[in-house]
Symmetry: C2
Subunit: 126 residues, 2 copies
Amino acid sequence: MSDAAHAHPVDPDRVAHARARLPSRDEAAQLTSVLSLMADPTRARVLFALDLVEELCVGDLALALESNEDAVGYALRLLRTAGLVVNRKQGRVVYYRLADGFPEPLREHCLRQLVVLSEAPAPDDG
Amino acid sequence: MSDAAHAHPVDPDRVAHARARLPSRDEAAQLTSVLSLMADPTRARVLFALDLVEELCVGDLALALESNEDAVGYALRLLRTAGLVVNRKQGRVVYYRLADGFPEPLREHCLRQLVVLSEAPAPDDG
DNA sequence: CGCATACCCGTAGATCCGTACGGGTATGGG
DNA sequence: CCCATACCCGTACGGATCTACGGGTATGCG
């Protein structure tokens, strides 16, 4: 029977405590959707690049990432739709930069911090 | 032609600058894999719950999340494989808690901070 | 020893995501 | 006016990811 958990909570107190403070599944989905946007190599590197040089057009972005325009274009589409980046059109060229309201703690503590974390491997399964 | 970007960089200087400092695609994949682990409603709530009450068995976790054992079991498997949570077996019951080396900044600045961010909607596409 | 519980694992199915491709629009130059 | 450039969009395909299901192992109880 995998469909249901046990009927007798082992720690009813802790279950109630967690249950009361836990974000709802809908709230969790909302905040994880933001996280999902950075949880992709291409998008993460796009954000890194824009953080480094402030502004870059699509073609240069593809060059900097050693990627192609398709991948970068798709990444920018999602980032733009989410409002994490904004664009400025000058002639035929479209320049992208991080949005003014780009989450500072997210950039500082997620992206940059994760570089450090990825260098510290996790212990094996128990 | 979507396969290649333009041959003439608009800002060769910025391209070179970004290219030199950018994490490689492999490094990016490694750090985004960590991010991907939290970028799921079930796993994020599991981590939230364990952060709140320190220790919880699988069944109680499913109760607290109002989920089923399958979803929680799968979430714990990935979290455990990645070394983000550890388990302790007492009799038939398996208790889970956050790993000792669980990234503090990740918990503090990603999970908790994202709750605030999710409440500030992003502007529309430009 | 036989049964129920608590959890784990492997597999199949559905669903989502990222990439590749073709075509379209707007700008700029000859 | 015609063509090349820079970028965007819609579609189709391959791959990854999550869920659901059946079965397996270990513990505790009578």
